[in-house]
Structures are given as structure tokens and as C-alpha cells.
């Protein structure tokens, strides 16, 4: 194994279950020390960002499209109950069957039951982050169903036993030599070259027979149309079209927030989605279908509508906008934090700024509490969001909720943060107290200051700062003291 192929092993142990994942700063550390991984991430995000910027600039009505996209999504969420029922009745009338899943476990159980009805021992899959959210693949494997991912990036991850690090290009942390190594090993192709064209051809050959033979498919949805009961899938490779056309049975897993009121709303969404996601005027293939069409495509069609923590988010005005998201990942590509850490540090299938607000809320603030802090609040995410989600605003709101949750009044007298803030309050009230504290503090900090004049490690609360960066030692004088001496010397 060459050096670069070893490089990605650091990410092998990534855990994308928010309940088990390490807090963000700890999870980010091994990645920050992996230059290959960081190069891969920077390369991919730079390319998408440049393409996006060019195509957004050519659209003279971009801001009007954003306003419309935001308003449509907002309206759909405000009336979500009405539109979901409308979708259900139209889809059912067209021959589809709609199932409702309150949580991940129920969605997994429904899907397994449907597969048992079909006597399916194998299933092909279109890329869907929602299925990763409910950890569907390991569950089906354990139940004896072989799952074959068909999106190129998902094949790389599945065969390489890797975790996704991005929601649009999930394998962007893996470079061509690493893909070559994975394919050569798992497909038995010893002499495979690392040319992306050869690697893509290998994936095509690997999957062709599976498309033709496996009669059951699982996919996600980019949009559900309430007016018609149609489902829309946006993709590039054609693996989606294969899964939507060849099998006998199709199962669509979709979050309840994916609904759009009417067919014509796509005239806005399709204009903003591809430009934001991949920097294309339009993605190569978009498919729309309605229930079951005699003689064309699957004759059994199921939609599983997944709540899994979404409906409570609607109740809070500020946080509700989180659910407007159309999963374009523009915020992820532009985020200065994601660009350094990549996706695995977020401990969730939804990384980056959108993941930082979505994951803790889906977990009902019980897990992933470090994520609202994984941001510099620079606002770049809000600026590029095609549906105008004010991510910094939601981040601040969630930080407040994390603090509220952690606050335990009975123990406040032994809580260093509480005691520290009370003490600061007392010291800052009078100038002399503040100056005295500065002098004493300077002496105390000397113990931790190295010979190079930097503080590399602080105890207790201070460690939260020094675990990821060094701190310059305090100067011998404060500005005030220097100013006073200067004035005296002048005289």
C-alpha cells in the first residue's frame, strides 16, 4: 500500500452516529494532522466553488430566484400538514403506497417488511443521505439483505468501508490513487490504472449486471410534489434512472420536509439547485414520476415519509428555517471550518454549516452539542444558501439552547464557568479591581508560558482554547501602564 492510500486510514474510524461521536474539536484533531486528507478536501471544494460562482454570476435574476425559492420552501413548511396529506392522496391515487415513519427504527422496519413481501435478498440503491441518517445499510445487511450502492461515490465508500464526508460528493476526501486501491482490491482488478476514466468504467461494468438483475431498488427524493403526488430525483450518472426504471419494485425514503406545493415550483428549484450544488446550469439527469405507470418502470411503488426529529423543529420560528434546506451543500463548500476539517469531524452524515444546525436538532439537543460551536459565524453559508437559511442566526440560537440545557442551578457554585463569570462581573465593576486582576493574572500566567513566549497548554477551562491553538504569553506591561510611563518620561 502506498503512502497516500494509508493516508485515508485515519478517517476509517469516523463514527457518523451523533450519539457515539466524539465532540467536534477532538474529532477534528486527527484530520488536521492528515495533510493528504486536507489537500483532497481543499481541491474538491475549490473546484465546486469556482464553478458555482461563475454560474451564479451569469444569472441576472439570482436574487429574485433565491427570494422565490426561500418563500416557496417557507410556505411549504408553514402548511406542511396540508401538503403532506395532499401528496399522500395523489400518490396513492396514482398507484403508490405511502407509509409514515416516526423515527429511524420504524422506517427501517417498514422498509425491511416491504423487502420481505418482495422476497428480496438483494437491493440496489440510489444515493440517499436520508438512508445514511437512519443507518439503513448495516441494518439490512444484518437482516440478510445484500445492499448495492450504485452512485460512484457511494460505491467507493461501500467497497472501501468508508464513511461519507459530504452530502453531494460523499467521497471527496478520497483521491484517485485511493480509489484505485479500493477498486483493485474489491473488484479483483490488479492492473487497474488510477485514471478517473478507467475507474469510472470499472464501476460501470461492476454495476451493469446488478441493474439488469436485481428487481428491487431503494432511493431518496429531492422533491415531493403535493399537487400531483410526483417524486423528483436529481442526479448526474444515470444510476438513478436505472434504479427508477428497471426494477419491479421501488421504495422511496424521504424526509417529511421535502414536499413542494406544486409542479411549477420546480421552475425555481431546478434553477437554483444544480448551480448551487455542482456548479452546472442543470445536472445531467432529473427524473419525475407519479405513482405507477403501466408498462413503464416499477409496478410496485412505495414512499416512506420520515419524521425522525423533524416535526418538533417546526415549532420554533428561528430554527424552522433549517428544514427549508434542499441539500445543495453550497454552505459546506464555502465554510472555512469544513474546508479545514472535512466532514467526518462533524460525527453526522450531515456535515458543515447545515449539519451543525440540523444534526443537534434531529437529536433533540441530546447529542452533537459541540456542533453549534463548530463555526466562526462568518456568514459565508448564509450568503450562498439558495433558500436563504440564516445559518448563523440558528447557530446562535442553538448555542443558547446548549448553554440552557447544560445549566444546572443546584451545582452552580462548583461550576467553573458560573463562578468565573460572577468573578469577572465583580472585577470589571471598578477600574482598580480590573487593574489589580491584570497584574495578578500576569504573574499567574507566567507559570504556563514557555521559553518561546507562547502558552501551549492551560489547565481546566483554559484547555478548551489551547487544545487547538497556542496563545501568546501576556506582555510585561498593559497598554495603560505603557501609556502612563510614556507620559512620565516625556515630562
Amino acid at each position: 500500500m502506498n503512502e497516500s492510500a494509508q493516508g485515508h486510514l485515519a478517517s476509517k474510524h469516523a463514527i457518523l452516529d451523533p450519539a457515539l461521536a466524539l465532540p467536534f474539536p477532538q474529532a477534528a484533531l486527527p484530520i488536521l494532522r492528515d495533510p493528504q486528507l486536507r489537500r483532497n478536501i481543499a481541491h474538491a471544494t475549490d473546484i465546486i466553488q469556482a464553478k458555482r460562482a461563475k454560474l451564479v454570476a451569469e444569472k441576472t435574476d439570482w436574487w429574485q430566484l433565491r427570494d422565490a425559492a426561500s418563500a416557496i420552501r417557507n410556505h411549504a413548511l408553514e402548511n406542511l400538514g396540508t401538503y403532506l396529506e395532499e401528496f399522500e392522496s395523489r400518490c396513492t391515487a396514482a398507484g403508490g403506497r405511502v407509509h409514515w415513519a416516526a423515527d429511524a427504527a420504524e422506517a427501517r422496519r417498514i422498509i425491511l417488511e416491504l423487502l420481505r413481501e418482495e422476497k428480496a435478498s438483494e437491493v440496489i440503491k440510489i444515493k440517499t443521505m436520508t438512508s445514511a441518517e437512519i443507518q439503513l445499510n448495516p441494518f439490512l445487511q444484518k437482516a440478510g439483505v445484500d445492499v448495492f450502492e450504485t452512485d460512484l461515490a457511494e460505491i467507493i465508500l461501500q467497497l472501501g468501508e468508508e464513511e461519507p464526508s459530504h452530502i453531494v460528493v460523499p467521497a471527496l476526501h478520497i483521491n484517485r490513487e485511493q480509489v484505485r486501491e479500493i477498486f483493485a482490491r474489491r473488484m479483483g482488478l490488479e492492473h487497474l490504472s488510477d485514471d478517473p476514466e478507467a475507474l469510472t468504467a470499472a464501476a460501470r461494468n461492476y454495476l451493469r449486471q446488478k441493474f439488469l438483475k436485481i428487481p428491487t431498488a431503494i432511493g431518496g427524493a429531492n422533491f415531493l410534489i403535493a399537487e400531483t403526488g410526483s417524486v423528483v430525483v436529481v442526479e448526474s450518472e444515470g444510476n438513478g434512472r436505472m434504479c427508477l426504471t428497471l426494477p419491479r419494485t421501488m421504495i422511496t425514503l424521504a424526509g417529511i420536509e421535502k414536499v413542494l406545493p406544486r409542479f411549477r415550483d420546480l421552475e425555481v428549484m431546478l434553477q437554483v439547485l444544480a448551480r448551487s450544488a455542482t456548479g452546472e446550469r442543470m445536472n445531467p439527469y432529473t427524473s419525475l414520476w407519479t405513482g405507477v405507470m403501466p408498462g413503464d418502470g416499477p409496478q410496485h411503488f412505495h414512499v416512506v415519509l420520515l419524521d425522525n426529529g423533524r416535526s418538533p423543529i417546526l415549532a420554533r420560528r428561528t430554527e424552522r428555517q433549517t428544514l427549508k434546506c434542499i441539500r445543495c451543500a453550497a454552505c459546506i463548500n464555502t465554510c472555512p471550518v469544513y474546508r479545514q476539517t472535512g466532514g467526518h469531524a462533524y460525527g453526522s452524515v450531515y456535515p458543515g454549516p447545515i449539519g451543525a444546525i440540523l444534526t443537534p436538532q434531529l437529536e433533540q439537543m441530546k447529542h452533537a452539542q459541540s456542533l453549534p460551536y463548530a463555526s466562526s459565524l462568518c456568514g459565508a453559508c448564509y450568503e450562498v444558501c439558495p433558500v436563504k437559511i440564516n445559518i448563523p442566526e440558528v447557530l446562535i440560537e442553538l448555542r443558547a439552547r446548549v448553554v440552557d440545557e447544560e445549566r444546572d442551578h443546584s451545582k452552580r457554585l462548583i461550576d467553573p464557568m458560573y463562578v468565573g463569570m460572577k468573578l469577572a462581573n465583580f472585577l470589571f465593576q471598578k477600574a482598580w479591581r480590573f487593574h489589580l486582576a491584570q497584574r495578578l493574572g500576569r504573574i499567574a500566567v507566567l507559570i504556563f508560558t514557555g521559553h518561546d513566549g507562547w502558552i501551549h497548554s492551560l489547565p481546566g477551562m483554559g484547555a478548551k482554547w489551547t487544545q487547538t491553538r497556542d496563545l501568546r504569553g501576556l506582555p510585561r506591561q498593559t497598554f495603560h501602564e505603557w501609556w502612563a510611563t510614556r507620559a512620565r518620561e516625556k515630562k
Partner: protein, 219 residues
Amino acid sequence: MNASDQSRQNILASIRAATRVGATDSLQVAADYEALPRTYIRRGELSNEELCELMVERLREYDAAVTECAPEALAATIAAQLKASGWQTFIAPTNLPADWLTSGFNWKIDRKLRTEEVEEAEGVVTAAFCGIADSGTIVLHHSEAEGRRLLSLLPDWHLCVLRASQLVETLPEYFDRCKEPPHLATYISGPSATADIEMTRIKGVHGPRFLVVILVRDV
């Protein structure tokens, strides 16, 4: 009541509690929807000539091969493209115009062709519903001249005949052309592609690797 019905009730109740809008307000919902801001560009401004030029330019950017021809030269142009492809066996949707089925080739008309038969064919010829110049998109609504979805998916070579009168400039103009929402639709913008490996665009993953468009100048 089974578990999914119970979940349905719970989820809808939870949504309604969170949004405080009941299904009884459907008139209000419709009024709110109509009031949504739609100040983006609906209609294009290009002349017919410019529209054709833009569509051709966009298609070529996607590596599609484009030929233009007059309506009376269509059959000959189709024949020339089929010959140039080097293939012999072509699929035709049920209602492809008879004069498009030029002689000298092995045509398989889609009278309930089995998947294996479609897979074995080398190419396919279809009509289209519409072309959107702004994004170089070909729209199929899968009528009997456009064919079932399978037909334009499995063969490696797809020849699509598009008329200049079917072109629109903007995406909203396509929606204006739909009298009814389609039951099936496929929007094709260039041949199948991926950029999953180091963001390098590779043509032809699972869909047809070759997209050939004949633009008939009927206006």
C-alpha cells in the same frame, strides 16, 4: 389501526401543533401560495435564430453532437447520423414518425420489447417534448414518439430529434408550455457524467455515453 397509521396520526398532529394551521384553511393556503413573490425572469428575449444558437452552444458544451437541418432534409440527416455512428441496431419508440425509420438499418420497434432486447441494441432514436436553451436541457415526457424511459437509457447512443419550434429560452417558459403536469418526465442536460473522483468530469457512467441532437429548423 396498524403502527404506520398510528405514526401518521402522530406525525401530522405534531406538525399541526408546531405550525398551528389546520387542513380546514385550504382557501387561505391557496391564497398564501398565490401571493408568493415570483419576480424572477419568466420570458426570454432572444430571437428564434439566437435561441437556436444558444441551444446548440449549450449542448456542445455538454459534449453532445449537434446537427441542424431543414424539415425536408430530416430523414436524410437521420440516415447520415445513424451511418456515422457505426452502429446497426436501433430502437424506435412505438410512434416514431415512419419516415424517420430510414432503410439500411436494423430497427427494433418497441412493441413491448424485453429489457434484454433493449440492452442489446446499440442506439435509440426519439423525439422530444421541449428544449430549454438557457441550460441546454432536453425534456422528455415519454409520449409514444419519445418512448418509455428504458429506451433512452440502456442503449449507449441516443439520437434525439428536436424542432426549433419546441425550443424555449427559460425554464419557466417550459412550465408555461405544460398544460397539465406530466406523469413522467426526464430532463436531460448532456450525456451521463460524474465528477465523483477528484471533481474530474467523466462522460458516460450509466446512461448513454453519446448524445446526438438533430435540431430541425422549422421556424
